[in-house]
Symmetry: C2
Subunit: 373 residues, 2 copies
């Protein structure tokens, strides 16, 4: 049943990759629908009479904040709203102050305000912790502040403009939320959950591929092993993608099996441990490519214990991956650890070939990953 459910997970993952194109097409259609909806502000006379040229801002909002993942759309939309309100409010104040002064002083005050707020907000954007979550909001703040403060100089009635624009931006946001979240949403949280669980399976596969290659159980499966090496490297380089997904997942509301304060940071920690394991596998792979290898006899001698150890390793990995995927407590460590320990013990009796040191080390690393749970 373990293998069964895992093969289901893997095939669902492959399906995801195959379906990836379908998801992209669905996303494109959703964008098209949202654009047509927002264009209605221009196309329908009663609506146009209400908002006028400001309908432009609704279109801009839809184009800019409609992202693939629900969390990304929410994060951009809220950032845009916040930036607009803050920038618009401060812009109004600055414009009114400048008008009080009047004359040439007016233009000087405005220029100074533009410089100070622009530079300060740009500096804030470059601070990593702000950049991560509020980069887009800061940009919109600069934009709105500037537009409001300089056009206030000409248009006279600043407050009216600001309110109208904010209203149309909110309407664009509402259209985005409806089309993006309510119809076939792409949750970043689902993607992170499945991709983390599948990393266990990927690593198990590459350990198997490595052993097959080393003991040449399969003669000309060179490509197969190269493929597993590639997968292992993709796990190794998954840090940036994981962090982006976790960042989006935190914005996503309660849905499906995930609660409100779901510990997404734990996923990043698990990913980190798995990347350490992947690093070990990659360096093992490089070892195997080395021209200096033990003799065939020696290799036969170590074959069996190595395979036993690898089998218990991959079994453990798959068990952990499956328990993560299904969100159930994994088998008590009492069941998993002795198996790994006995495998390590067996390996310890064979000393010489350097390869063994590595495999042994894998056991160590896994113990670490087990403790994460």
């Amino acid at each position: 049943s373990l293998e069964n459910s895992l093969s289901v997970a893997v095939s669902s993952l492959r399906g995801m990759k195959g379906d990836h194109d379908v998801r992209r097409v669905v996303h494109s259609v959703k964008v098209g629908v949202a654009l047509v909806l927002v264009s209605l502000f221009y196309l329908l006379d009663p609506l146009y009479e209400r908002v006028g040229e400001n309908a432009m801002w609704a279109i801009m909002t839809v184009v800019v904040i409609f992202e693939f993942f629900a969390g990304a759309t929410l994060s951009k939309g809220l950032n845009r709203g916040l930036g607009t309100i803050l920038g618009g409010g401060l812009g109004c104040i600055a414009a009114v102050l400048a008008q009080e002064i009047g004359g040439v002083g007016n233009a000087i005050v405005i220029g100074t305000a533009v410089f100070i707020f622009g530079a300060a907000a740009t500096y804030a954007r470059s601070v990593p912790s702000i950049k991560k979550k509020y980069d887009y909001g800061a940009m919109i703040f600069i934009l709105t502040f500037n537009l409001v403060v300089v056009s206030g100089l000409r248009a006279g009635e600043v407050m009216g403009i600001a309110r109208q624009r904010l209203l149309t931006i909110v309407m664009g946001f509402v259209i985005c939320i409806f089309t993006n979240l309510l119809v076939l949403p792409n949750w970043a949280s689902d993607d992170l959950h499945i991709s983390t669980a599948s990393k266990f399976e990927h690593l198990a596969c590459s350990i198997e591929g490595l052993l097959d290659k080393y003991f040449e159980a399969v003669a000309d499966k060179e490509n197969e092993a190269d493929r597993s090496f590639k997968i292992c490297k993709s796990v190794l380089h998954s840090k940036a993608k994981d962090e982006t997904l976790a960042n989006f997942a935190k914005w996503e509301p309660w849905h499906g099996k995930f609660g409100l304060c779901y510990p997404w940071d734990k996923y990043l920690q698990i990913g980190e441990v798995l990347r350490e394991l992947a690093a070990t596998i990659v360096s093992l792979e490089v070892c195997i490519r080395s021209p200096r290898q033990p003799t065939a006899n020696l290799r036969q001698l170590i074959k069996e214990p190595c395979e036993t150890a690898a089998a218990s390793l991959t079994w453990t990995l798959r068990e952990l991956g499956e328990s993560l995927l299904k969100m159930r407590r994994c088998q008590p460590e009492a069941l998993l650890l002795p198996q790994l320990k006995s495998a390590r013990h067996e390996l310890r009796h064979l000393v010489s070939p350097s390869e063994l040191g590595h495999v042994c080390n894998l056991g160590e690393d896994l113990a670490v990953s087990t403790f994460v749970f």
Copy 2:
């Protein structure tokens, strides 16, 4: 002299990190200046009479395309220009066609055009190769197309609007180029060049830290070793950052010591090999943490050859890093390889402790990295 110039490189790198804050402040001031310059369209009457409300587009352009790196600004600016021209052109054609039909058919044609072009361009954005270079351009294409086609319905004179907006966008772009590229520019190419060269130094340092830790030459330098481990991991996870920098570097014009068709992809290849080496060092680090270790006697026995091997390794790494930094051909392989080979040969005589297998393997890996040159 080798050590001298390397220490200069390292200190310049540290300086860069210390100066990082200075660079950010300079960048913020530059943004402020650009914003004030572009606000002059509103503030000065003669300019405002020329462009009118369209000055808004110049402000928007400056806010949106002014990025930290020169290459990023150029790439965004050119994308914005291209997207605006394409979207505006197609939007004009669609608007004129729709006007020919007239009546209710008008709105239907426009709605259909909005849907088809919006969905198609969004799909194009999700294709990796397009996403990498033209993501922003495609977004601007959708935006401009929509705005032109729907406001053409109302404004009558579409061509005029499109030309005016394009003009103001070009003016915003010119202001950006002047303030970003001509005054203290931040070249992504310089950053990529220095960070790649410093990776060699980082890895050499972490190999030294590792040996110190293993043979406990330094008793309580636990923190020092942890620091070197962290640096090593940052090398391991540098893929995404390197690719971004290389992408920007390709947009940057000829400057300083880099020619027009400088092979930036080679930097990515070197980075890949160095990441493999970093993976080996990380897994070595995990090995050392394992509770199962050889006895102190055995450790003393292997200490000397290990240190010799490590010394020649780090020397080679630094030599390669320095030759990359100074862009000179590195010492002929004839000089480097025999040293590594003899070190490996010496290690081969000591068989048992698994650690040695690793260090030996490092030699292998370096041989690979040497062949890159």
